[in-house]
């Protein structure tokens, strides 16, 4: 099982720009609108179709409960019919709701000037649905909190981590109303996913022409920063290299605000779940600390 997923990720590494569509994950929460805006921006910038996804999650709370414990002739059949009826009406309501959300978002995206917008509904959790259509995705946009945590001021939704971990495509996590990104920041530590981010800055039409701040947090990062500097300079990107010290997430969030940087690129969740469990994941901390969109690369 593990070796399979590792093989899969190896294959995916070479295909940073594969996939056809920009995907927006919508659930009708307040962030959905922001997600739609950012996704429209991306779709226009890279000239790809925009795909709007809504998932119908099956409620695990049982639809019917009857503690009488008595079963008579045909009660299995009756129970099946009863459950089917209740779940049918539940699901069809959710599908209708989803269609409304998708249609509204579609109108908005078309109005924003996206050439082609597709909508898609799928049964299952978000992560399940995404894995199924992953090959079709070039990059995806998701809100930091879903419907369940909509009214929380901080923290991120409970599905976000599993979604990020299960995907191998660039993921833009949106946590604020849309404003056109003008500068990018790259949280750089020389890891494989950071190298991928460098490649993206150089090659992606999305980030073309944006000045980039490469930030290293810690000591002795000069060599790494030089390396990044050379790559970006050669590609004609306006680059600023900085070395900072302190708690990584706090320092980065602070630097971002001071320099008015709209978009941060970073590698996400190491493959080592155990280490994350002990030390706390840097990605999770960063997601919690910042209030600007994060573009995560696996």
């Amino acid at each position: 099982m593990t070796s399979q997923t590792q093989d899969k990720s190896k294959v995916k590494e070479f295909s940073l720009f594969s996939g056809r569509v920009i995907l927006a994950c919508l659930d009708g929460s307040s962030t959905s609108e922001q997600v739609c805006d950012y996704a429209s921006w991306m779709a226009k910038a890279v000239d790809r179709p925009l795909k709007l996804l809504h998932t119908i999650e099956h409620n695990h709370n049982p639809a019917v409960s009857d503690y009488s414990g008595a079963i008579g002739l045909g009660s299995q059949q009756e129970l099946l019919e009863e459950l089917t009826e209740v779940e049918q009406s539940r699901a069809s309501l959710l599908i209708k709701k989803g269609q409304l959300i998708l249609n509204a978002a579609k109108q908005k995206a078309l109005a924003a000037g996206v050439a082609k917008v597709e909508t898609y509904q799928h049964h299952g959790t978000l992560a399940e649905s995404l894995i199924e259509i992953e090959d079709d995705i070039r990059a995806m946009v998701i809100g930091i909190r879903g419907k369940q945590h909509e009214h929380q001021a901080e923290g991120f939704g409970h599905q976000l981590e599993s979604v990020i971990r299960s995907m191998h495509k660039p993921i833009l996590v949106v946590n604020k109303a849309f404003s056109q990104p003008n500068k990018t920041m790259l949280a750089y530590d020389g890891s494989a996913s950071c190298k991928k981010a460098l490649q993206m800055i150089v090659e992606s039409p999305l980030l073309q022409g944006m000045p980039c701040h490469v930030v290293y947090v810690g000591k002795n990062g000069e060599a790494l920063l030089d390396e990044a500097n050379v790559v970006l300079k050669n590609a004609g990107v306006e680059v600023t290299c900085v070395q900072l010290e302190g708690e990584v997430d706090e320092v980065l969030a602070k630097y971002q605000i001071e320099n008015d940087i709209e978009l941060t690129l970073m590698g996400a969740f190491s493959h080592n779940r155990f280490r994350d469990l002990l030390l706390g994941s840097f990605t999770a901390k960063m997601l919690a600390a910042t209030n600007r969109p994060l573009l995560l690369l696996r």
Binding site: G69, L73, L79, L80
Partner: protein, 497 residues
């Protein structure tokens, strides 16, 4: 993989699972006692088994929300073993059953379930219901009228209590039946048989004990046939139940893991002084009906069952057998697939024969394995017979050249080869015979052999024989059809060549 489970499996539905687990635990107690009595062992053997199996399958089973415990299907198989050799051999047989089931799980024999057709499943379920009912009859013969009255009253309470508004759907009616009949018997002082008369009840938590049998070939010879039957029936009922729960909850489950899980649970039961068990159709339906969906429901059912029995054993001993009989009659009625009787007119005769044959064989032999074997065999024969109808031949005579051409369409195999031969007119005097097989499929050696026979016969009559399209027709003889899983591959083999 065996220990893998998601948080959702355990904690996705805490309230529903705990309440459903309680309802199931209450329903499991009378069943576990009744099944021990069927098997001819003390009630504690069935109760310990139900506890161990429920708790272990909650962790290692492949189908969250399914209830496994000591069951009637298994109890019926051990009657003679217990009678002839005693409890210790039953425990040893239970251990071996577990080992066999684990092996079957690793060999992925769960997928063999696909050979068990819907009508065999229905027959199995109906036969099980009939056997559970029949097992209650000894309690209802040669007894005073009190027992009949109490059983009837118990059934009345079970089926009518749920109609009482509000509390009817909050309190399990089998519990109300047991409590009210026990209270009645104690207060009025009716002298009827009680659970305490049937043997020992558990007074401690189960303890680890190795079956007291000699580990030699003779023992193996005694227990192996029983273990084999127990393993097969246990897996059959478990996988059927898993499918039922899959359907009810609209989710899927890991059938091979369920096989291994059942095996581990039986080993656990055997080591804790319990009898072999498997999944229970009736209890699993009750669990889903009460809102149970996750692994927690099964765990709660097992733990609560044991706690109640151990701490309330004095009270459990006072339950009149009539109350248990009423509950068991409810279980047998609930297990029976009523739709299969209603639809008997709608279904084809072959389907009905398979179902009824399964029921008859089981009720006759008291062994569900035999019934399933007969059912699967009959269903396969009916299927082969139906497919053999898909064959016909066209023949054409060209008088000028004195050539007779036979063109075959359809499936030629052991069952249709006689029909294949019957299409030839060997008495017709022609100088040339052409057999066009490019639209036919040869499935086995019997088909090839009958073609050889036809060719030889024609030659003997003095005709020259040409065969067209044999290579295409015989592509289906290969044993592994797995390669033909793409439409174009299938078209190559089965299409019009």
């Amino acid at each position: 993989m065996l220990l893998h489970s998601t948080k959702q499996d355990w904690l996705g539905n805490i309230r529903g699972d705990v309440l459903a687990g309680l309802v199931v635990a209450l329903a499991l107690i009378p069943e576990a006692i009744a099944f021990s009595i069927i098997a001819g062992v003390d009630p504690k053997v069935g109760l310990y088994a139900s506890f161990c199996i429920a708790v272990i399958t909650a962790v290692v089973g492949g189908r969250p929300g399914m209830i496994s415990a000591a069951t009637g299907a298994m109890a019926l198989l051990m009657v003679t073993l217990v009678r002839q050799h005693g409890l210790e051999y039953l425990l040893a047989a239970t251990l071996l059953t577990g080992v066999i089931q684990i092996v079957m799980g690793y060999l992925k024999l769960g997928s063999l379930m696909s050979f068990v057709s819907r009508s065999v499943v229905t027959g199995f379920v109906n036969a099980l219901a009939i056997l559970i009912f029949m097992a209650q009859l000894p309690e209802l013969t040669n007894v005073t009228w009190h027992v009949y009255a109490m059983t009837a009253a118990g059934l009345g309470v079970i089926y009518l209590f749920p109609y009482i508004p509000v509390i009817g759907k909050l309190i399990p009616s089998p519990l109300v039946c047991i409590l009210s009949l026990t209270a009645l018997a104690i207060i009025v002082g009716i002298d009827v048989r009680t659970v305490g008369d049937m043997g020992e009840l558990p007074d401690t938590l189960p303890v680890f004990l190795w079956p007291d049998v000699e580990l030699n070939f003779t023992t193996l010879q005694i227990i192996f046939p029983y273990s084999m039957a127990l393993a097969v029936v246990g897996l059959l009922e478990s996988l059927m139940t898993a499918t039922i729960v899959d359907d009810l909850t609209d989710t899927s489950s890991d059938k091979n893991r369920e096989c291994k899980g059942q095996g581990i649970a039986n080993i656990g039961a055997g080591l804790m002084g319990g009898m072999a068990g498997c999944a229970m159709i009736g209890q699993s339906v009750i669990n889903v009906k009460s809102g149970g969906r996750g692994r927690l429901s099964t765990m709660v059912a097992g733990v609560v069952l044991l706690i109640m029995v151990v701490f309330l054993n004095d009270w459990v001993a006072k339950i009149p057998m009539a109350a248990l009989v009423a509950v068991m009659i409810m279980v047998s009625i609930g297990t029976f697939d009523w739709g299969s009787v209603v639809n008997i007119k709608k279904h084809p005769l072959s389907t009905n024969i398979v179902m009824i044959a399964t029921v008859v064989v089981v009720v006759w032999t008291h062994n569900l394995a035999y019934g399933v074997f007969v059912g699967v065999l009959l269903a396969s024969l009916f299927f082969a017979n139906k497919i053999s109808h898909f064959m016909y031949a066209e023949s054409e005579l060209d008088e000028e050249t004195s050539t007779r051409t036979y063109t075959f369409h359809g499936q030629i195999f052991f069952n249709s080869s006689a029909k294949f031969l019957a299409n030839f007119n060997f008495k017709e005097a022609v100088s040339k015979v052409v057999i066009d097989l490019s639209r036919a499929h040869f499935w086995d050696i019997t088909a090839v052999h009958s073609l050889d026979m036809a060719v030889i016969k024609f030659r003997r009559e003095g005709a020259q024989v040409d065969i067209i399209g044999l290579n295409e027709a015989s592509e289906t003889i290969v044993d592994r059809f797995g390669v033909h899983d793409k439409p174009e591959e299938l078209e190559k083999v089965l299409g019009g060549h």
